[in-house]
Symmetry: D2
Subunit: 313 residues, 4 copies
C-alpha cells in the first residue's frame, strides 16, 4: 500500500520510546501505535528529527521501522531515511520498503544553497532509492538551513513522479501553501499531499489554506485529528476553539531540540501512551521548574479538554 498524493489526515511523528537504561521499549512502541490508531490517525512517520534516529544504529533503526510497519496493520508508515550519503539512504530505503513501508521522507543536507543544488539533490536521491519508491520532501528551513521556494518545490514534484507529499514546516508558511495550491489550480504542478509539521503551531490556518492535514508529534495527536476533522466538516469555530485551548501547551512543547522532545515524552508518558519519558543519551530532561510548568498547563487545559486531565500516572 504505497503512499499516494491523496494522503490526508494526521500522520503523527512518532518518538522512539526508550527504557531508562537506554534500551528500546518495544512494548511502548506497540501501545503508542495502538493509541495513534484509536484516535483516528491515518498513518504515521518514524525515524524523523524527533525520533532520536541519530542515536540508533542501523540494525536498531530497521528493527524499529519493522515493528511499526507490522503493528500498524495497514496504516501507511513513512520512514525517515535522510542520511549524509545516498548509499546509506538507499540501503535503509530498500530494507524498509521490503518490510512494507508506505514511503520515505528525505530532508535536504544543510550544505545545499542554490535552487539547482536542491532540485538536483532530490533527483539524485530519487534515483538512488529507486524511482518507484514514494517519497516525501521535508521543507524545514529553520532546522536544515535550506530554503526551497514554491517554484523549487514545483520543480521537484514535476521532475520526480514518485514525489507524493510535502512535509511543510517552513515558517512563515501560510502563503507557501496557498501558492502551491495555486500551482495545482493553474495546472503547472500535479497534485500532491501537503501535511504540516512545525509542531502544529499554525495548523488551525494551514488546513484552511489547503493543507491535507498534519505530520507532527504534539503529545495530543487526538487534538490534531479532531482539528483536521472539524475543519473538514466545516466546523471552523469549533476547530479553532479546540486548537486555541491547546495552544499554550503546544507552544510550550515547541522548543527546538531535545527540550521540546522532553516535554513531548513527559506528557505522552503521563497520558500512558508510552511508559517512560527517557531519552537515549545524549538527551535532555526537564527541570523541576519545567515539570511544574507543564503540569500547570495541563491543569489549565483540562478545563477545556478533559483528555488533559486523564493521566496514567
Amino acid at each position: 500500500m504505497p503512499l499516494t498524493p491523496d494522503a490526508k489526515g494526521v500522520y503523527p511523528i512518532a518518538p522512539t520510546p526508550f527504557h531508562a537504561d537506554g534500551r528500546i521499549d518495544y512494548a511502548s512502541i506497540d501501545s503508542m501505535i495502538d493509541f495513534y490508531r484509536s484516535v483516528g490517525s491515518t498513518g504515521m512517520t518514524v525515524l524523523g528529527v524527533m525520533g532520536e534516529a541519530p542515536k540508533l544504529d542501523g540494525a536498531e533503526a530497521l528493527e524499529i521501522a519493522t515493528r511499526f510497519i507490522n503493528r500498524a496493520e495497514g496504516l501507511p508508515v513513512i520512514i525517515g531515511v535522510s542520511a549524509p550519503g545516498f548509499a546509506a539512504m538507499a540501503s535503509l530505503t530498500r530494507a524498509v520498503m521490503d518490510k512494507g513501508a508506505a514511503g520515505v521522507m528525505i530532508a535536504p543536507p544543510n550544505t545545499l544553497r542554490t535552487d539547482d543544488q536542491i532540485t538536483i539533490y532530490y533527483r539524485q536521491a530519487s534515483e538512488a532509492i529507486g524511482t518507484d519508491v514514494p517519497f516525501v520532501i521535508q521543507d524545514f528551513p529553520q532546522t536544515f538551513s535550506v530554503m526551497m521556494t514554491p517554484v523549487v518545490i514545483r520543480k521537484i514534484v514535476q521532475e520526480n513522479p514518485s514525489c507524493v507529499m510535502l512535509k511543510h514546516e517552513d515558517w512563515p508558511g501560510l502563503e507557501k501553501i496557498s501558492t502551491l495550491r495555486g500551482f495545482q489550480a493553474d495546472g503547472s504542478m500535479r497534485p500532491i499531499s501537503i501535511l504540516c509539521g512545525n509542531g502544529g503551531l499554525f495548523l488551525d490556518f494551514e488546513v484552511e489554506r489547503g493543507a491535507d492535514g498534519a505530520m507532527t508529534g504534539y503529545a495530543f495527536p487526538d487534538m490534531l485529528c479532531d482539528v483536521v476533522r472539524l475543519q473538514a466538516e466545516g466546523q471552523r469555530d469549533a476547530a479553532h476553539d479546540l486548537f486555541d485551548a491547546h495552544l499554550p501547551l503546544l507552544r510550550y512543547e515547541q522548543q527546538q531540540g531535545a527540550l521540546g522532545l522532553a516535554v513531548r515524552k513527559y506528557v505522552m508518558a503521563k497520558r500512558g501512551i508510552i511508559a517512560s519519558d527517557a531519552q537515549r543519551k545524549p538527551g535532555a530532561s526537564l527541570t523541576a521548574k519545567a515539570k511544574a510548568e507543564v503540569e500547570y498547563l495541563l491543569a489549565r487545559l483540562a478545563k477545556h479538554d478533559p483528555r488533559a486531565g486523564r493521566t496514567a500516572r
Copy 2:
C-alpha cells in the same frame, strides 16, 4: 536619566511608522509614544530589528531617535545601534546619548562563533561607544546565529560595568533565565535587568522565571503591561488567562521578517496607534487571506479582551 540594572516593566519595540509613499510619519510616532505611555509602558526601544532601521539613512535614524526621546518626556528610550563596524556604532551612540537616550542596544554580528569572540566583541564595542554609556546585550540566536551561553553573558556583564540589561530572546530560553538569576543568587554575577523579546511567545513563564518584563513589539503592548503587572501582583491565573486569550494572535504575529511586521503594523493601524501599516520598500504586505485571518483572530480575541474590538477604522 541613564538606563540602570533595575529597569522593569515593558519597553515596547517601536516600529517606524511610514506614510504610504515611504516618508516617515512623525505624527504617528507621537501618537504611538503617547499610547505606549498611556498603557503603562516603562520605557521604549527604537531602531531595533523590527524598526526597519536598515531602511533609514543616518540623518533619518537620528531624527527619529530624537523625536522619541523628546516626546517620551522622561520615559527611558533605548536606541538600537548595531552596525557593521564600531565607527558607525560609536557615531550614532554619541549622537543619541547627546539627545538624551537612556542607553543603547547592541546585537552581535553574525560572524561571531567562539565564546572568546563574543566577549571580546562586547568589550571592544563598549570601549568604542564609551564605557560610560549603558548598553543592552541582544541575545537572539535565531536571527543573528550567535549563541551565547549563560557563562558568556556573565562574562560580558562582569567585564563591562556599563552593561545593564539583557534583551533575552533565545529560544528555548526559560532555563537560561533561571541560570542567570542563579548566578546573581550565588554572587558570581552582579544583578542586571532581563527583558524578554521573541514576540512575547513565552512571556507568561519568563516573568515567573525571574525576568523583569518584556521588550517586544506585539501589537497589544497593553496586554504585555497587564501580564507583567498581574504576575507582579501575584495574580498568576489572571495573568495566564489574559495571555492565553492573546496567544492565537500573538502566535500569528510571530512570523519572522517583514510578514510578522506587516501583521503588527496592520493591527496597530487598526487600533489607531499609527495611521498606516505601510512599510518602506522593500517590505511586505498582507494578502487578502492573511488580512481575513487577522480579522478572524481579532474577532475571537474581542470576546475575551474588549480592546481587540475597539478599532479606529
Copy 3:
C-alpha cells in the same frame, strides 16, 4: 567617466592606510595611488572588505573616497557601498558619484539564500542607488555565504543594464568564468567585465579562461599587472613563471580576515607604498614568527623578482 562593461586590467583593492594612533594617513593614500598608477593599474577599488570600511564612520568613508577619486586623475575608482540597508547604500552612492566615482560595488547580505532572493536584491539595490549608476556584483561565497550560480548572475546582468562588472571570487571558480563567457558567446547574456579577486590565487588561469583582469589587493599589484599583460601578449609561460615565483608569498597573504591584511600592509609598508602597517582597532598584527616567515618569503622571491628585494626600510 563611468565604468563600462569593457573594463580591463588591474583594479587593486586599496587598503586604508592609518597612522599608528588610528588616524587616517592621507599622505599614504596619495603615495599608494601614485604607485598604482605607475605600475600600470587601470583603475582601483576603495572601501572593499580589505579596506577596513566598517571601522570608518560615514564622513571618513566619504573623505577617503573623494581623496582617491581626485588623486586618481581620471583612472576609474570603484567604491564599495555594501550596507545593511538600501538607505545607507543609496546615500553613500549618491555622495561618491557626485564626487566622480566611476561606479560602485555591491556585495549581497549573508541572509540571502534562494536564487530569487539574490536577483530581487540586486534589482532593488539598483533601484535604490539609481539605475544610471554602474555597479559591480561581488561574488564571494566563502565570505558572504551567498551562492550565485552562473544563471543567477546572468539574470542580474540581463535585468539591470547598469550592471557592468563581476568581481569574481568564487572558489572553485574557473568553470564559472568559462560558463559566463559561454553565455556571452551564445548570445544569452550581454558582455560584462570580469575581474578576479580571491587574493589572485588562480589569476594565472582565470585570465586564460576569459577574465579581463584582477581586482584584488596582493601587495605586489605590479606583478598582477605584469601577469595580465603577459597573458594578453600571448606570453603564457612567462606569465606563469612570474606568477609561480610570487605564489608562495601570495598564498601566505591569503589568510582570511585581519591576518591576511596584516601581511599585505606589512609588505606594502616595507616596499614604501604606504608608511605604516597599522590597522585601526580592532585589528591584527604579525607575531615575530610571522614577520620572519614573510621576510624569508620575500628573500626567496627576490631571487626571481628583484622588486621583492627593493625595500624602503
Copy 4:
C-alpha cells in the same frame, strides 16, 4: 598497535578508488597502499571527507577499512567515523578497531557553536566509542563551520586521555600551532600529535611551527614525505624549494568539494597509483580545459621534480 601522541610523518588521506561503473576497485586500493608505503608514509587515513565515505554503505565502508588495515601490514590506519549520531559512530568504531585500526578520526557536527557544546560533544563521543579508543580531532572550520579555539582544543585533550592527535586544518592556522605547542611548553596541555591537512597549502611553515607532519591527500604524497623529512633534517631551503615547485599544482588541487578530488584522482591515475579517476555518483569530472590545465602544471612541475614526468598512461 594503537595510535599514540608521538605519531609523526605523513598519513595520506586515501581516496576510495572506483571502477568506471561505480564498483569499488580493490586492486587499486592495494596498489595505492603499496605506493604510500614505498614513499615513506608513516600511516594513512581512510574514509575522510575526500574518501567519498557518504557514498559507501555500512558494509562497504567496513570492507574498505579492513582492506586497508590488512594490506598496510603494521602501518597505522586511522578510520574516519564521523556520523550524525553516536550509535552509528560507535558501531563503525567497534568494527574497525576489531579489525586492527590504530584509531579513529571524529569531525564535529556543524550544529555546534559554543565552546561548551564542542567539548561536551567530544566527551560524549569518546564515551560512546569507548574511552580506550585513540581518537583524532578534526579541526576544519571552513568545511564544518565549527570554530575551536586553542583553549577548547586543550580542554578536549585534557578531558579525554584517548585523544592523541589533532588533524589541523584551520585557516589561517599557523599561530594556532604555535599556541598549542606553547600550551605543551608551559605544562598546561599534555603533548599530542599535530598533523596538518588543508591540502598541504601551508605545510612548508606548519612543520616549522611545530607540526609533526601532514595528513592530507595531495596527489604527490612523496613530496609531502620529502618536505617533512627535509625539515626534520634541518634542510629548510631544500624543503621550501621542493614545496614551492609543487605549489602551483597543489594550489590547483585545492578546490573544495568534488572538483578538487577530481584533480587529485586524475593525477593519481596518471601516475599509476590508482587505475581510474572515476568518482562514484554524484561526483565531478574534469572538463577538457581543466585537464589541459593540469597537464600544463604537471609539465611545468616535471622540470623541477622528475616524478611529475613519469606517468603510467
